[in-house]
Symmetry: C2
Subunit: 322 residues, 2 copies
Amino acid sequence: MAPAAPPDPIAELLTTYNELNSSSIDELLEVPSPLEFMRYVARNRPFVVRGGASDWKATRTWDLASLKERMGGMGVNVAVTPKGNADAPVESDNGELLFVKPWEEEQEFGEFVDFLVEQESMGKRDGEEVRYAQTQNDNLRNEYSELFADVAPSIPFARIALTKPPEAINLWIGNSHSVTALHKDNYENIYVQIIGQKHFVLLPPLAYACVNEKKLSPASYVRDDRELVVKKEEGDKVPFAVWDPDSGEGGTKYSSLGKPMRVSLGKGDMLYLPALWYHKVSQSCEDGICCAVNYWHDMEFGGSFYPLCGFARNVALDAPKN
Amino acid sequence: MAPAAPPDPIAELLTTYNELNSSSIDELLEVPSPLEFMRYVARNRPFVVRGGASDWKATRTWDLASLKERMGGMGVNVAVTPKGNADAPVESDNGELLFVKPWEEEQEFGEFVDFLVEQESMGKRDGEEVRYAQTQNDNLRNEYSELFADVAPSIPFARIALTKPPEAINLWIGNSHSVTALHKDNYENIYVQIIGQKHFVLLPPLAYACVNEKKLSPASYVRDDRELVVKKEEGDKVPFAVWDPDSGEGGTKYSSLGKPMRVSLGKGDMLYLPALWYHKVSQSCEDGICCAVNYWHDMEFGGSFYPLCGFARNVALDAPKN
């Protein structure tokens, strides 16, 4: 005799998760020990440490003037987009949803941040581009190595618990016009706010059926004279979440069962963003800029978690969306 | 455009797990620190510590004579079955598969172990019953409290990592005629061998589709004069795995993708059996008995792991079995 199956395993998964887990983030008052951290890793649950990096030299001393003084004259990689939408789904002229990467170019650091500050104070003019230093290629130990001594060389509790140093340490500088679309990374991520604020909308990896992942053709913005135009590219399609947890657009019949967790980071706050969590990130400025650093650690692929997440994703891809 | 779904998410789940994880158990040479233990908990992966409890007084001093001397005259709960099959699926006379609990009765300890020893040396006679002290109700701190001082009052690395003392500490005494059928528990389990050997066949929780869980009507063996007869009971059906990973009987089309992990424990060996892992357990004797102790700790229901396991189970229940 076959046992009775529940009506919809996906709905039950989301409901069970919501019953067993809060949609408010845990707030710690000091950095955790490696063991305390490992308990969060085991549950794949985020936390924020208020003021966890307040004593870093970066947090205490970085501002517009000091950054310009130290980085002035150097060339940095800048992502340029028409609407602050680097690495995001964009509808093409013929109505196809594409995954569009930003136009990247080198700019002199002082000129780059002056542009951010002026745009932040004057407002974005019609047709004006948005700029964001957001290379995720260990840039703080390379392009911005001048600044690296002012942040922790690693996050000790994470390095010890995960038994490995950070794979990449990235610096992010932008203004409030840039928004990072909902996406996930295969990394255990420690995010530290230095100047301004970041606003995260978070969803656990098992919310695949909510985020409505679609396979999109790759494309890039290309600077054509002064205008940025979308250019479709050859190559494999990119699976990407198209649900916007703020506007509700692009969702599925399951999206209402996703309970986004929202957290804002201020100066010196430290966020543990667990591997595979979906995150959408917007920002507010102080002195016209927003600056943060994050530490990526390779996630654990052994054990049950990664295969189970892939399973939930595959079942969600198969399921009717409406 | 809907993305292409893989042909069978369940098969992909099992295959991915096998690719990323060994089917050999990790062997540690000393007990782990709480942090090292927590890394195993996070991955939901078992390990064995060879000789991890060799210095326990129980391991050094317990034998047939000393146990009889200390427990002699006391009444203990004994599970009685015709074939050593306590808590196992049994086909009834009319062909229905039932979940059959053992007949339980109190026996004088000396008489109980003498029976085990004689049966072990003479062989089980036709129609002879099998006896097993296997109450999992914290019996070592109650029924067998006389012996409790000889084992560790807790497993420090587990107590510290999991932030709680053991929920139950259980003593098991039987002979080689008892086999515990494949099942799972909602506990983080530390198992310590004292006398003889235990032979475990282990499967991770995501192998639901392999173990062929069915909902069986509950029943019990009842002693009727000298014979043990199966008596069906009222009450909710019991979901129970019917696949035998040794004989291969009772499987599904997915069972061949389950890669059982096998490990034997000798005197003083310590096994971490992670929460929700399926385990089938058989045993070998020393001096005619097999004796072990286990420590159950409540598992973590928060985070992603427990909901994802429930999801894999629900999808497996829905899937065609052949």
